[in-house]
C-alpha cells in the first residue's frame, strides 16, 4: 500500500507543479505587465529552441533511406 501511494506521487507532483506555477504568479503581482510580456516571449523562445533541438535529434537518430526502410518493413499478420 505504501508503495502504491509512492507511485501515485508521479501524478500528484505533476498537478501540484501546475498549482505552484499559479502560486508563483500570485506572488509576482507587483510585476509590471511589460516584464510579464517579456517573460512570455522568453518562455516562447525557450520552447522554440527546445523544439529545434528535438527535431535535430530526430534527424540524427532517424534511420537512413527512410523510403526503402519503410517499404521493407513487412510483417506476417498476428492476432
Amino acid at each position: 500500500m505504501m508503495e502504491q501511494g509512492h507511485r501515485w506521487a508521479g501524478i500528484v507532483t505533476c498537478s501540484e507543479g501546475g498549482q505552484q506555477q499559479v502560486r508563483r504568479g500570485g506572488e509576482e503581482h507587483a510585476t509590471t505587465s511589460q516584464t510579464k510580456a517579456s517573460n512570455l516571449t522568453e518562455k516562447g523562445e525557450k520552447l522554440k529552441d527546445e523544439m529545434d533541438a528535438l527535431i535535430d535529434e530526430i534527424d540524427a537518430v532517424l534511420e537512413e533511406n527512410a523510403e526503402e526502410f519503410v517499404k521493407n518493413y513487412v510483417q506476417r499478420g498476428g492476432q
Binding site: 501511494g5 507511485r7 535529434e57 537518430v61 527512410a66 506476417r76 498476428g78
Partner: protein, 495 residues
C-alpha cells in the same frame, strides 16, 4: 460483490532485420526468446493441457484442430521468466505476457519491463548474426501494408456476470476509449478511407462486433472463454481492440479506466443506454478524426461524439465512487485523470502532447513537417511513425521524447528494474516466479494456473493454482522458506 480484479497484458512485437530483407520472422523470433540471458539454462514445458482457446463465452465450443507443439518445439518456443511473465513465439512474432497483476501500476511496470526484456534479448541475439545485420523490434500494431498484430488486455471477472451484459455495456466504451489510448498512425489501411493521420493503429482492422476470431474478421468484443482459472468462479475477459502504447500515462489510463468500468458492470451499477448503431463503422470513424469532433449514431437515433460518450461513462464512475467509496485505492485518481483528459480533449487535443501517444506522435510529426518544410508524403514521416515504437532507448522516438522531458512519466527506472527481476507479490505469479527462482532445475512445466515438478523418481507432480489471487507472498512465503527442495515443497504442501 465483484471478483477481485486481476489484470495482465499480452504484446506481440513487430520485428525486422536490418540489411537482410529475406529474414525469416519465425526463426528470428525464436532466436530472440532464446537469447534472454537469465533463462538460457531454463528448459521447461508450457503446459498446454490447461488451454481451451476454442471455447466461446456465449456457451458453445468450436470443433477445430488446435495444434499443440511437440516437446522440443514447446521448450524452444516458450520461456517462463522468474518475474512470472511468459516470453514466447506466437505465430511469427515474439510475444510478452505480463504476470497477473492486482492493480494498474503493476500492470504498467511489468509491461514496461517487457520492453526492456525484449531489448536485452535483441542485443544478445544480435551477437549471433553476421556483421552488419541487426534485429530491430517495434511495439506497434501494424506494418502499414495491411498486416496487424495484437495487443490484448485480460481482465479477471466473476463468472456470475452474464457475458451478454458485459458485451452490451462495454461496447460503446471500447469503441470510444481510443481518443485517450490510441497509439496514432499515419494513413489508413485495410480498404478504409484514406486519411493523413488517425488516432488508432488497430481500428482499421476490426470487421465484426462480436466473435471468437483474433486473426481474421477481428471482433470488437472477443468471446474466447479460457479463464486460466477456476471455470466455475471466473471468466477472463479478453480485450483485443486496444493499441500497444509507448506512453506510461496512456497505458495507465487505458487499463485504469477499463478496470473502473468493469467494476461498475460487475456490480450491476452501469446501465447506460448508449448502444451504437454500427460499432465497427463508429470505431473507424472516430479513429479517422483527430479533432475528436465527429459524431456517431446511436440505435435510439441520437448522435454523439466519442468525448460525449466517454463523459457518460466518466459521470457514472464519479457517482459510483461517491456511493461506494474508493473501491480500490487506485480508482479515485484514475477517475480524476480520466475527467481531466476528457476536458482537454474537448478544448484542444494537442494539450495532451506529453500524455497521450497519438497526440504525442502527431505533435512531433507536425513540428517536424513545419521545421523541415515537408508534408505527409515525406518518407521521413512514415519512418518517424514506425520509429516512434522502436524499443531501443537510443533510437526509439518515444524514448527521445522521454529524455527531452516530452513524455509524462509515472514510473521510475527502479520500478521497472524490480519488475524485470521479481514477480508481483500479491497474485499467484509470486508462487510461480519464486518456484522458478528457487527450484529451477526441478520445474518441469508451467501454465498460468499450474506448475509441475519432476522430482526424478515417480510421476510428474502438478500443483494447480486455480485462484489467481492465491499463491501470494503472504500465502506462500513461509512454505517456500521451509522447503529447501521441490520434493520438500510437495511434501509440505500435502502434509
Amino acid at each position: 460483490m465483484a471478483a477481485p480484479r486481476i489484470v495482465g497484458s499480452e504484446t506481440e512485437y513487430g520485428l525486422t532485420v536490418q540489411n537482410d530483407p529475406d529474414f525469416d520472422s519465425i526463426a528470428t523470433s525464436l532466436l530472440l526468446v532464446n537469447s534472454y540471458s537469465s533463462v538460457q539454462s531454463l528448459r521447461l514445458l508450457w503446459d498446454y493441457d490447461q488451454e481451451d482457446p476454442l471455447v466461446d463465452a456465449r456457451g458453445f465450443e468450436l470443433d477445430e484442430e488446435y495444434d499443440v507443439p511437440d516437446q522440443q518445439d514447446n521448450m524452444a518456443i516458450n520461456k517462463v521468466l522468474p518475474n512470472g511473465a511468459r516470453f514466447y513465439v506466437d505465430h511469427a512474432h515474439p510475444e510478452f505476457s505480463t504476470p497477473e497483476c492486482s492493480n494498474v501500476f503493476d500492470l504498467l511496470r511489468y509491461e514496461k519491463a517487457g520492453e526492456r526484456i525484449l531489448n536485452l534479448s535483441r542485443m544478445s541475439a544480435n551477437q549471433h548474426l553476421p556483421s552488419g545485420r541487426t534485429i530491430l523490434v517495434y511495439k506497434n500494431n501494424s506494418d502499414q501494408k495491411g498486416n496487424s498484430y495484437g495487443y490484448h488486455e485480460n481482465y479477471l471477472m466473476d463468472r456470475r456476470t452474464p457475458f451478454q451484459t458485459i458485451a452490451e455495456q462495454l461496447m460503446p466504451f471500447l469503441v470510444t476509449r481510443q481518443i485517450f489510448c490510441g497509439a496514432g498512425k499515419v494513413g489508413a489501411e485495410n480498404g478504409t478511407d484514406p486519411v493523413p493521420y488517425q488516432i488508432s493503429q488497430r481500428a482499421d482492422f476490426f470487421e465484426t462486433e462480436i466473435g471468437l476470431d483474433t486473426m481474421v474478421k477481428r471482433p470488437i468484443i472477443n468471446t474466447r472463454d479460457e479463464p486460466h482459472a477456476n471455470r466455475d468462479r471466473f471468466r477472463r475477459l479478453h480485450v483485443i481492440v486496444g493499441d500497444a502504447n509507448m506512453s506510461e500515462y496512456t497505458t495507465y489510463l487505458k487499463v485504469g479506466t477499463t478496470l473502473v468500468v468493469l467494476q461498475m458492470i460487475e456490480d450491476g451499477a452501469l446501465a447506460l443506454n448508449l448502444t451504437l448503431d454500427n460499432p465497427v463503422q463508429a470505431l473507424r470513424a472516430i479513429s479517422h478524426d483527430p479533432t475528436c469532433k465527429i459524431t456517431v449514431a446511436l440505435k435510439d437515433g441520437r448522435k454523439m461524439t466519442a468525448i460525449d460518450i466517454q463523459r457518460c461513462f466518466h459521470e457514472a464512475a464519479c457517482r459510483y465512487l461517491e456511493r461506494h467509496g474508493p473501491c480500490h485505492p487506485t480508482f479515485p485518481q484514475i477517475v480524476a485523470e480520466w475527467g481531466s483528459v476528457l476536458e482537454r480533449l474537448a478544448t484542444d487535443p494537442m494539450q495532451l502532447h506529453r500524455e497521450i501517444d497519438w497526440v504525442m506522435k502527431l505533435h512531433l510529426l507536425l513540428h517536424y513537417m513545419e521545421r523541415r518544410g515537408s508534408d505527409w508524403d515525406d518518407p521521413r514521416i512514415a519512418m518517424m511513425d514506425l520509429q516512434y515504437h522502436d524499443i531501443r532507448p537510443e533510437k526509439g522516438l518515444y524514448y527521445v521524447l522521454e529524455r527531452s522531458g516530452g513524455a509524462r512519466r509515472l514510473l521510475t527506472e527502479a520500478d521497472i528494474q524490480r519488475a524485470i527481476d521479481d514477480p508481483p507479490e500479491d497474485t499467484r505469479a509470486y508462487f510461480r516466479g519464486q518456484c522458478l527462482k528457487k527450484f529451477r532445475q526441478q520445474v518441469f512445466g508451467v501454465n498460468w494456473d499450474s506448475i509441475s515438478f519432476n522430482l526424478g523418481d515417480g510421476p510428474i507432480k502438478r500443483i494447480m493454482m486455480e485462484d489467481p489471487t492465491r499463491g501470494t507472498k503472504q500465502h506462500v512465503q513461509e512454505l517456500l522458506d521451509r522447503s529447501q527442495t521441490a520434493a520438500e515443497l510437495i511434501a509440505n504442501l500435502v502434509s
